[in-house]
Point group: C2
Chain length 363, copies 2
DNA sequence: CTGAAAGCGCTTACAG
DNA sequence: CTGAAAGCGCTTACAG
């Protein structure tokens, strides 16, 4: 592979001049520039990013450590992160922790060894030692979705409190009184927060959240299945199961189905994190949707601000309830046009008539 | 951040000795080793991978360029690739092309600039110029899932021919005679191959595949929706729609539903690529399942063989049909045990009694 | 505007 | 077994 020396020789200039041309340094004669460009062309030269990084001490690379790539929520997050990073001239290396702190640790260390310019983390259960060390050592870092209390790092996340309140109001309105939740790991903020929001919303309706109605999950499908089985074995099973993420909802659905029960007739189901498939499950699933793409983009902007010396900003965006049929609501009345209506973009701001936070699904 | 010089000073040895200790070079005295390890500990020293890469001309990093991360098939592929790579001591950088050759090109160039040791590619439509150049230039490369004809690169993929034949037999047995397919981009191998396999399988039953029954898709949901609408507008619409990937099946489902039609009563649906959600869609969807994890692992092994100087092997693994209810089959008879049966691992080899290639879904 | 030279943090023949 | 030194491919003050 051609190096900068080869280009210099080919163009009849020094490597310094080649470097200046490549980096758009102003003091280069037009003639030198032309010859260098031509040499670059002829040789198909591409600068060695490894050498450049060693010299400049920056890699223009961001690390993204997420808890589970197989979760569609994180996949979408990863995608928007990469897109925004690319538009700002950064690459991103994704590390998938699979909800396991040791693997999170492995990725954080590897990423740091590669001298990435900054780290975006959605910490697993409690966070791994290496990740905590990095934060303390002052590595440019931003938490997305989940965060660790007491660690001084900007956080970009969705606030589901209002949406959970809307969900509980919806459930209560449908006559449900025994509501259960499948929580994520208590040590993750999204694990505990969603339970707390749920508990508070219940309290507002005079309902309690007994311990037996709190299933302990780990954000994976299998744990949703087990928690649901336990609920169904109760002397007084809940009327509703609210899964704190979409994979545990999948597991819950498996469990309900394995018992030969029906949703929502025998038991209602709702989930945190909306995904395209929820429109087509049997029945369509009521879910709380996060502004995932915007979260990813805001996180990258905060991190790049931090890296480039601007003050980074924590961001909290609202999640919203999307009502479907899995909680017992009759299907929304709809006409069936022969031609589907043209795509209608969501209006940027709700008009007064649309202020209800409860948004009805299009489907 | 501490460098090797700091460690050397702290341990009272030369940087050469530190390097030898770090790389497990045999000729180091026990005493020197001990002092170096202690210094490393005290300083929290981690070798700079960028510097090491520049010096050794290897990054122990693999690039993976996939056509669409949001597609669960590719997400799973990416995950297994990363796992296998990690176990072999490599990191992987994922580039998401979003089915667009320009973006594929961007990622290939960026990855090459970073001097990754090898490239795993699932080429978009026809492949991008940069990717083709890299292949010709002798960059260690392996194609996964899709490949480009005439490019001398090992291919790791699933063969769906048998499964498609099983699918058509299944459909024919259910009485369907007008079968349509939503194809992927003709320039992708998976796009054209699946159509050809389908056509051949139909021919074996004396059925034709008229042009009007070939929808042109791009592996994205929206294209599945449009193709399905076109089918439904036909004077004689098909009885079955077979989508060449899971996202187009989602779109097809959207379209069918928007017309107020039912699956499978009004139209049957099947998909290439099985995903966990297909168990819970309304109705559960009959699909062709690829051995995705094994594909990812085999691809990494082939690439690492190539990188480390061993002869890489192309691998073709069979896909298999998973029958559910979306094509009109009555739900399989099942008892509903109060306790779910214990997890049963799939036997490694089919016994004679199980040789039927058609596998019935567990659900 | 240009080039010679130093140096980023490592590894590795080479000499001892 | 150990260290001094060269060199990987760049960038960038410094001198001219």
């Amino acid at each position: 592979m051609a190096s900068i020396k080869d280009v210099a020789a080919e163009a009849g200039v020094s490597v310094a001049t080649v470097s200046r041309v490549l980096n758009d340094h102003p003091s280069v004669s037009p003639d030198a520039r032309t010859r260098v460009m031509a040499a670059v062309q002829r040789l198909g030269y591409r600068p060695n990013a490894v050498a450049r990084s060693l010299r400049t001490d920056q890699t223009r690379t961001l690390g993204l450590v997420i808890s589970d790539v197989l979760n569609p929520y994180f996949t979408e997050l990863a995608r928007s992160v990469e897109e925004e990073a690319r538009s700002l001239g950064y690459s991103v290396i994704i590390g998938n922790a699979d909800e396991r702190p040791e693997i999170e640790d492995h990725h954080v260390r590897t990423l740091l060894d590669r001298r990435i310019d900054g780290l975006l983390v959605s910490p697993t259960d409690g966070g791994s030692p290496g990740m905590l060390d990095a934060a303390r050592a002052g590595t440019p870092m931003v938490f997305v979705d989940r965060w660790i209390a007491g660690v001084d790092v900007p956080v970009v996340r969705a606030d589901g409190r209002t949406a959970v309140r809307d969900l509980v109001a919806h459930l209560h309105g449908l006559g449900h009184r025994r509501l259960a939740i499948i929580a994520g790991p208590a040590a993750t903020t999204t694990g505990s927060e969603r339970v707390e929001a749920f508990r508070e919303a219940l309290a507002a309706h005079g309902l309690a959240l007994p311990d037996a109605y709190i299933g302990q999950g780990d954000f994976q499908a299998e744990s949703g299945r087990r928690a649901t089985e336990r609920f169904l074995d109760l002397a007084e099973p809940p009327e509703v199961v609210f899964a704190a993420d979409n994979l545990m909802a999948l597991g819950a659905l498996d469990a309900v189905r394995a018992r030969g029960l029906r949703v929502p007739e025998d038991i209602a189901l709702a989930a945190f994190d909306d995904i395209p498939w929820f429109v087509h499950t049997d029945p369509p699933i009521t879910a709380i949707a996060q502004p995932t793409g915007e979260l990813g983009r805001a996180a990258v902007r905060a991190l790049v601000d931090r890296i480039e010396g601007r003050p980074p900003q924590s961001v909290t965006l609202p999640a919203r309830l999307v009502v479907r049929r899995s909680c017992g609501e009759p299907p929304p009345v709809r006409t069936t046009p022969v031609q589907p209506p043209p795509e209608q973009p969501t209006p940027p701001e709700p008009t007064p008539a649309q202020q209800s936070p409860v948004q009805r699904s299009q489907s």
